[in-house]
Amino acid sequence: MSETLLWVLPVVPAVTALLMLTTHDRRILSAIDVCGSAVLLALTLVLAREVASGGPRAIGLLRIDDLGLIFLLLVAFLTLAVSIYTVGWLKQALAVGNMKSELLRSYFALVHAFVATMVVTVLADNLGVLWIAMEGTTITSAVLIGYHGHQHGLEAAWKYIIVTTIGISFGLFGTVVIYAAAAAAGLHGGAGALSWSAIMKVAPTLDPGIVRIGFIFVMVGYGTKAGLAPMHLWLPDAHSQAPTPVSALLSGVLIKCALLGIIRFQTIAAAACGPAFPAGVLLVFGLISVVVATPFILAQHDIKRLLGYHSVEHVGIVALGLGFGGRIGTYAALLHVVNHGITKALAFFAAGKAIARYGSRDMRVIRGLLSVAPIGGTLLMLAALSLAGVPPFSIFVSELLVLRAGIGQGHWVAIAIFLAMVVIIFAGLLHHVGSMVFGEPAAAVSREPETWSPLLGMMLLAAIMILLGLTIPASFDGLLRRATEIVR
């Protein structure tokens, strides 16, 4: 039963994508969108239950374990939230002419094709399939980033497809090199020799020298896709130019899928040449990302670019957690993946609504949001507080755990830099958001009431964000602990 589910899961969004091509009607398209996403989430939950009781499952090139399950749940959950948000967002985007109604069906089809490729990256056991699906996400999402069709969108899309394709080809090279190491260690038989679980069995016997080279290539490759600095150049452009639901998917899920790829190779490298080597590489990239993002966050005026640079910072924090390592560090990194995914999607949703209301992405124009849109303004403020790392929200918990892991391992320099940057970003972000939410709005601002669909999608995410800040449910805690054991 659960083995069948493994290959049904990527088929669900693929079929949804094909169904989209059958109609032009916006209502029907939105209905298919929400239903397809709901089915995906329901099947994911069934699979989660099976894995929790019966351990990892595998079929052919696909495999699910507790580690993959965390990311799969994130994909499925955010896809549903995005679908619900899209219903209302689309109505407005059509009204102001941001989206064209004759192009709608291909937009929806691409979104679900994008989701399908992401589901495959999460489920892939075969490292070759992982790469193919990862390049598939680039192709589908590049078209979506340029979807508005204006010059800036196309510029961002071009930069994205060129930078990530060349980046990810480094990832392929690293995969080939590690495959060669596995072949030299005596792993035989076609596609099986690229299987992560098969390589893990022989990992301690792999040649450390070649695995080191392979891991660095993979780190640069998948790191490009994850948005780690200094390979992050595509990220702020793509996140700011894409349609808002796509921004949420890029930031909330796609860069997390690339992190999963890095974690898979990290476990191989840790077994082959000791945990210190991959941890050191992750620490360096993590610190660079946190440091590079800070000045751009402070000086930013475009709200979506601000959130894009924030993703660079938070991916850096995940890399730091993985780099500090140990039980606490890995646990913190995985928790941060989920927390940031949910919070960042919420932030993009709320920012998207504010942008639509004010007709500008410039934070100096957006003023007094709370008085024209009380609920949307509150949600934007909550998301920003959480992103800044204020208790009791979820990101505070995972950042604290990352810090504790660093202290436990005695990485004092890294911790000092990390703390300094987090404090600066905290101040910068609160300044930006404070001036957007409070104050007097300009007279010309639209005061039309807020609509239910975007709010419902946002409240769903906000509820989880607050819940994970207050307490981590036992079942989710167990999942994280089992996944931590896989990585460690």
């Binding site: 800036h152 495959y179 060669a180 020298g209 070649i210």
Partner: protein, 218 residues
């Protein structure tokens, strides 16, 4: 064929690949760069055929055939088509002098060979000098993309870079699994098509090279 002969042939092909790479980096006109990358793909296909004969691995014949058709014929044709549609007469515009780029390319080749000379046990897993040649091609492809700022030269650099990966992948003793190689090539074609569409779209709407757009900053 003896193992020695195969090593020699692969090493000779590797030298030819590096030579075509130099032509791409130094190309003054976009057409020359396209022909050079087509020639490079042709050599990769020959390498595949040689390795297929030597190892008796049928999959490698398929891969060599696909490489010949897709990378040596279809992709260069797409690039050629785009160049004609764009009707560009202008030369390739290097960001830094070609001499400096060539010096960097030489440096990359030397470092790649140094790097893989330190890896003893890989010699058994990868035929001849395919690993250092592959690393050098991949990095020089990135160099070509970084130093020439037109959309088409960036695409050429990308394909050259991927050629390096294919060369190394073929030379891993067992060869890459066929299904994976086919998936990878499929991705390459799709990416090339999407890029070509973007280039033409920008050309037709704002009459500019998409790689020249630089409004998004900060």
């Amino acid at each position: 064929m003896s193992a020695e002969t195969v090593h020699t042939i692969i090493d000779d092909l590797g030298a030819l690949l590096l030579f075509t790479m130099i032509l791409i980096v130094a190309a003054g006109q976009i057409y020359r760069a396209i022909y050079a990358v087509a020639a490079q793909s042709l050599f990769i296909a020959v390498a595949g055929a040689v390795l297929a004969t030597a190892t008796g691995n049928v999959d490698l014949w398929v891969i060599a055939g696909i490489t010949l058709i897709v990378k040596a014929m279809v992709l260069p044709w797409v690039l050629h088509h785009v160049v004609q549609r764009m009707n560009i007469r202008r030369e390739v515009e290097p960001v830094i002098p070609v001499g400096a780029t060539l010096a960097l390319a030489v440096l990359i080749v030397v470092v790649s060979f140094q790097l893989s000379a330190s890896l003893g046990s890989v010699r058994q897993a990868i035929t001849g000098n395919a690993l250092p040649v592959g690393i050098a091609l991949t990095l020089t492809g990135v160099l070509a993309m970084a130093t020439q700022k037109t959309a088409l030269t960036q695409m050429v650099g990308l394909f050259a870079s991927e050629n390096g990966i294919f060369f190394t992948a073929m030379s891993v003793t067992q060869g890459m699994p066929l299904i994976i190689e086919i998936g990878v090539i499929l991705d390459v074609i799709l990416a090339a098509l999407v890029m070509a569409i973007m280039v033409l779209r920008v050309r037709s709407t704002v009459d500019a090279d998409i790689a020249d757009l630089d409004r998004l900053r900060g």
